[in-house]
Symmetry: C2
Subunit: 191 residues, 2 copies
């Protein structure tokens, strides 16, 4: 598995080959079909995944039975439900693949063990959690300060590869925009 995207990412982060091999050896490869879940609402999340190929969404079901997407993960991104995992509590949302997906997956316990052995892995994951926090602060600020059109434009600019892959009703839900408003915004943008 050494030539995977994960190994490349860890090389970019200046880990040495011994660290990379020891770390990656704790992972297993999981193949998901479109629609397969890796976590369901009510379960406790005990894993951390890395997307080698594919696309997953974090979602919950609204009172009127609709899927409300709150986040997604694509190639080179980590996927876990951090609140459930870190507090050992039931997840408030589900995570499923919406494309055929190859996931590298390790357990929370493996991660704790390897972080104790290798302080740089520990430091790397602390940085990841901080980055996740900064992303969430930035998303909150965008909802406070930007109108729907501006949030859509920013998303397109930051995630050009996702526009073709994410179904429009998921994108609308992620951006907090009604699907018909998103259609109007996209039509206006094409003019």
């Amino acid at each position: 598995m050494q030539e995977s995207r994960l190994a490349n990412l860890l090389r970019q982060e200046k880990f040495n080959e011994i660290e990379i091999t020891s770390f990656i050896d704790t992972f297993e490869v999981v193949t998901l079909q479109k629609g397969d879940h890796i976590l369901k609402e009510g379960q406790v999340c005990t894993f951390v995944g890395f997307v080698d190929k594919g696309l997953l969404i974090y979602y919950n079901i609204s009172e009127d039975g609709e899927e409300k997407i709150c986040d997604f993960a694509i190639e080179n991104q980590w996927v876990t439900q951090y609140q459930s995992m870190s507090t050992n509590s039931k997840s408030l949302l589900s995570i499923k693949a919406i494309e055929p997906t190859i996931l590298l997956k390790t357990t929370h316990q493996n991660l704790i063990n390897i972080a104790e052995e290798m302080p740089r892995i520990d430091k790397y994951f602390k940085k990841m959690i901080d980055n996740f926090l900064f992303t969430m602060v930035s998303r909150t600020n965008d909802f406070q300060n930007l109108i729907a059109e501006e949030r859509y434009s920013k998303f397109v600019k930051e995630n050009p590869q996702l526009i073709q892959r994410l179904p429009q009703y998921y994108l609308a839900s992620f951006l907090g925009i009604a699907p018909q408003s998103l259609s109007r915004i996209r039509k206006n943008n094409l003019r």
Copy 2:
């Protein structure tokens, strides 16, 4: 300063009196008038504060010169610009008192030193940062899933004491609602 709100909060967290005294001795008392800043956009945040009395807002100035509030801090809450402090980078926002405020303030370096000496203080602040992250995830989800009326109702339920204290234009900005829409929602709620 031992009988302050901060000492009480630390007692609730089961710290012993030696820990509480050692920790609180690193703080200084800062008195702020309405309008006084503790951080300005572009500065690097090097402090952590605890609100003993008063109310502060986190804000930036929009292109059309308006104050856009993204967060606030009241009694018993910590106040810092975590991203600026933890990455030693310029803050993207300012923090100022909007009521006469008494703040207990310590430096980031004091906090690092005391966390090294006292692992429970370190653990407590890690928990605080996790809680901040969970709050940000929850706020993002609310913007994705709730309409303006629902976000306002939730805010009133969770922060009843703030409705009287936070000027309406700040509340509108925090909730990502136009001031005239918030006026309409409040009028409808009073009926």
